[in-house]
C-alpha cells in the first residue's frame, strides 16, 4: 500500500467501534443487571410465599422469568454470532514477492480465503 493510500484510510473504523461498544453494553452490562433483577425477583417471591401473598409471589416469579428469558436470549445471540461470523475484510491484491514465486492458483486461493 502506498503512503498516500495508507494515510487516506482511517485507522479507526468508528462505525464498527460504536456498534461493538453498544453490543458490549447491552450484552455485558445488560445481562449483569438483568441477572440481578432475576435474583431479586426470586427473593421477593420467596418472601411473598412465606407471608402468604400469592399475587405478589406470582408477579415476582414472572419478572424473574422474563429477566431469565432475556439472559438466555442474549446467550443464544452470542452463540449465533459465533457460528455465523461474516467473512473478514477482503485482502488487498498480492504484491510481487522478491523471494517466493508461488503458483498463481495458490496465491489467488489465499487472497480469496475468509
Amino acid at each position: 500500500m502506498t503512503i498516500l493510500a495508507a494515510a487516506s484510510t482511517p485507522l479507526i473504523d468508528w462505525s464498527a467501534l460504536w456498534r461493538i461498544a453498544l453490543a458490549a453494553l447491552i450484552g455485558g452490562a445488560g445481562i449483569v443487571i438483568l441477572f440481578g433483577f432475576l435474583l431479586y425477583g426470586v427473593k421477593v417471591a420467596n418472601q411473598a410465599k412465606s407471608e402468604g401473598h400469592e399475587g405478589r409471589r406470582i408477579g415476582a416469579y414472572f419478572v424473574s422469568g422474563v429477566c431469565g428469558a432475556i439472559c438466555v436470549a442474549l446467550v443464544v445471540v452470542g452463540i449465533y454470532a459465533m457460528a455465523h461470523k461474516p467473512k473478514s475484510k477482503p485482502t488487498p491484491p498480492p504484491k510481487s514477492a522478491a523471494v517466493y514465486k508461488p503458483a498463481a492458483s495458490r496465491t489467488e486461493l489465499v487472497a480469496s480465503l475468509p
Binding site: 500500500m1 495508507a6 484510510t9 485507522l11 479507526i12 473504523d13 464498527a16 467501534l17 456498534r19 461493538i20 461498544a21 453490543a23 458490549a24 453494553l25 447491552i26 450484552g27 455485558g28 452490562a29 445481562i31 449483569v32 443487571i33 441477572f35 440481578g36 433483577f37 432475576l38 435474583l39 431479586y40 426470586v42 427473593k43 446467550v75 452470542g78 452463540i79 454470532a81 459465533m82 457460528a83 455465523h84 461470523k85 461474516p86 467473512k87 473478514s88 475484510k89 485482502t91 488487498p92 498480492p94 504484491k95 510481487s96 514477492a97 523471494v99 517466493y100 514465486k101 508461488p102 503458483a103 492458483s105 495458490r106 496465491t107 486461493l109 489465499v110 487472497a111 480465503l113 475468509p114
Partner: protein, 392 residues
C-alpha cells in the same frame, strides 16, 4: 522429501502451539470462577476443556491465515514458506512459555502474529508487511478492547452492587456464583471458536503449500480440526494454574458479582468484535474486564503493579515473539532444510523443558487456588486483603 519432513514438524509445532494456547488462556474463562469459589479448579478447567473442544467446531468459516492482509500472501505459500511458518510457530510457542513462566497473561494471538511477522522480515524484508493494516486491524483494536470491556464491566458491577443492597449479601453472592458458571462457559466457547481456528488455518496453508490440499476446493481436513481442537482442549485441561492465579487473585480481590460482570462484559466484547470482523485477544479483553470489575467496586482495590507488568508484556509480545520467530528462521537457514528445521524444533523443546523445570521451584497447584470452601460471607470480608500466593 525435504518439505515433507518440515511439513510434519510444522503440524507437530502447530499442535504444540495450540497446547500452550490452551493452558495459557484457561485463565481467561475460568480464573474469576475459581477465585470466587464458584467452581473447583479441576472442575473449571475440565468444563473449559470440553467447551474449547466444542467451540473449535462451531464456526464453519476458518481464518485461512491469522496474518491475512498483514503479510503478503505470496510469502505464505510455496515450499520455502514451510520454514517460515515453522519458525513463526516456534517463536509464538516459546513466547507463550516464557510469559507462562513469569505468570503474566499475554496474548497467544498476538504472539502468533508477531512470530509470523518476525520470521517474514528476516526471511524476506519488512516490505512484505502491511504496517498500516497491522495497526488498523490488530494494534488499534487491541488498545481499545480492554477499555471497552473494562468500562462495561465497571458499569455492570456498579449496578450489581446497588442491587445487592436490596437483595442481601448472601443471596446475591450465591446467585452470582451460579451465574459465573454460565458466563465463564460462554468465554470458553468463544475462545475455542476463535483460537483453535487460527492454528487450523496455519496448518491448512502449510498443507496447501505442500500440495496436500486442493488449491481450488479448499476445506480443512478433519484430522486437522480434530488435532487442533484436541490440542487446545488438552492444554486447557492441564490447568495453567500460574496464570489463573494472576488473573483471578493478583489483579483485584474479586467477588462473584464482579467475576460475573467481568466474564459477561468480556464475552460480549469478544463476540461482537469477532462478528464485525475484528478478532481480538481474549487475554487482553478479559484482563480489561477484570480490571474494570475491580474499579467498579472500589478504585483502590486494584493492584496497579500487576497491571503494569501485564501491560508491559502486551506491548512487547509482538516484538518479542517476532524476534524469537526471526531468530528461529535465521538458525534454521544456517543448515540444510531438514536439518535446520530439526535443530530449531530441538532447541524449542529444550527451552520448553528448561522453563518447565524452573517453574517447578515455585509450583502453583489446583489445591492452592481452591476457594470452594470459602463461604459467601467470608468472600465479602476478604475485600481489601490481598491473597498471598507466592509466585516468581
Amino acid at each position: 522429501m525435504a518439505t515433507t519432513f518440515v511439513l510434519v514438524l510444522v503440524v507437530i509445532m502447530g499442535f504444540a502451539f495450540d497446547f500452550t494456547n490452551g493452558f495459557h488462556d484457561t485463565a481467561n474463562a475460568m480464573a474469576t470462577s475459581i477465585a470466587t469459589g464458584a467452581l473447583k479448579p479441576k472442575v473449571a478447567v475440565g468444563i473449559s476443556a470440553v467447551l474449547n473442544f466444542a467451540g473449535a467446531f462451531i464456526s464453519i468459516s476458518v481464518a485461512a491465515t491469522i496474518a491475512k492482509g498483514i503479510v503478503n500472501p505470496d510469502v505464505l505459500v510455496g515450499g520455502d514458506a514451510l520454514d517460515l511458518v515453522l519458525a513463526a510457530l516456534i517463536g509464538a510457542m516459546t513466547w507463550n512459555l516464557i510469559t507462562w513462566y513469569f505468570t503474566i497473561p499475554s496474548s497467544s494471538s498476538h504472539a502468533l502474529i508477531g512470530g509470523i511477522i518476525g520470521a517474514t522480515i528476516v526471511a524476506t524484508s519488512s516490505g512484505e508487511i502491511d504496517w498500516h493494516d497491522l495497526v488498523q486491524s490488530v494494534i488499534i483494536p487491541a488498545l481499545l478492547s480492554p477499555f471497552i470491556a473494562g468500562g462495561v464491566a465497571a458499569l455492570g458491577v456498579y449496578c450489581a452492587y446497588r442491587l445487592i443492597r436490596r437483595l442481601g449479601q448472601k443471596e446475591a453472592r450465591t446467585g452470582y456464583r451460579y451465574g459465573q458458571v454460565f458466563s465463564a462457559s460462554l468465554v470458553s466457547l468463544a475462545h475455542g471458536t476463535n483460537d483453535a481456528q487460527k492454528t487450523m488455518g496455519v496448518i491448512s496453508l502449510a498443507l496447501i503449500a505442500h500440495g496436500d490440499i486442493s488449491a481450488t476446493n479448499f476445506s480443512v481436513p478433519l484430522w486437522v480440526k480434530l488435532g487442533c481442537a484436541l490440542s487446545i482442549s488438552l492444554g486447557t485441561a492441564s490447568g495453567g494454574w500460574r496464570i489463573i492465579n494472576t488473573m483471578g487473585n493478583r489483579i483485584t480481590n474479586i467477588e462473584s458479582p464482579q467475576g460475573f460482570a467481568a466474564e459477561s462484559a468480556s464475552a460480549a466484547v469478544i463476540l461482537a468484535s469477532s462478528y464485525y470482523g475484528y478478532p481480538l485477544s481474549t487475554t487482553q479483553v478479559v484482563s480489561g474486564g477484570v480490571l474494570g470489575a475491580g474499579l467498579g467496586k472500589a478504585r483502590n482495590s486494584v493492584h496497579w503493579g500487576v497491571i503494569g507488568q501485564m501491560v508491559s508484556a502486551w506491548i512487547v509480545t509482538m516484538p518479542g515473539a517476532g524476534a524469537l520467530g526471526g531468530i528461529a528462521w535465521a538458525i534454521s537457514n544456517i543448515f540444510s532444510p531438514n536439518l535446520g528445521a530439526a535443530v530449531i524444533v530441538a532447541l524449542a523443546a529444550a527451552g520448553a523443558f528448561g522453563l518447565w523445570t524452573l517453574a517447578q521451584r515455585n509450583k502453583i497447584t489446583a489445591s492452592d487456588l481452591d476457594r470452594t470452601n470459602v463461604s459467601v460471607v467470608d468472600e465479602a470480608e476478604r475485600s481489601g486483603v490481598p491473597p498471598a500466593i507466592a509466585t516468581t
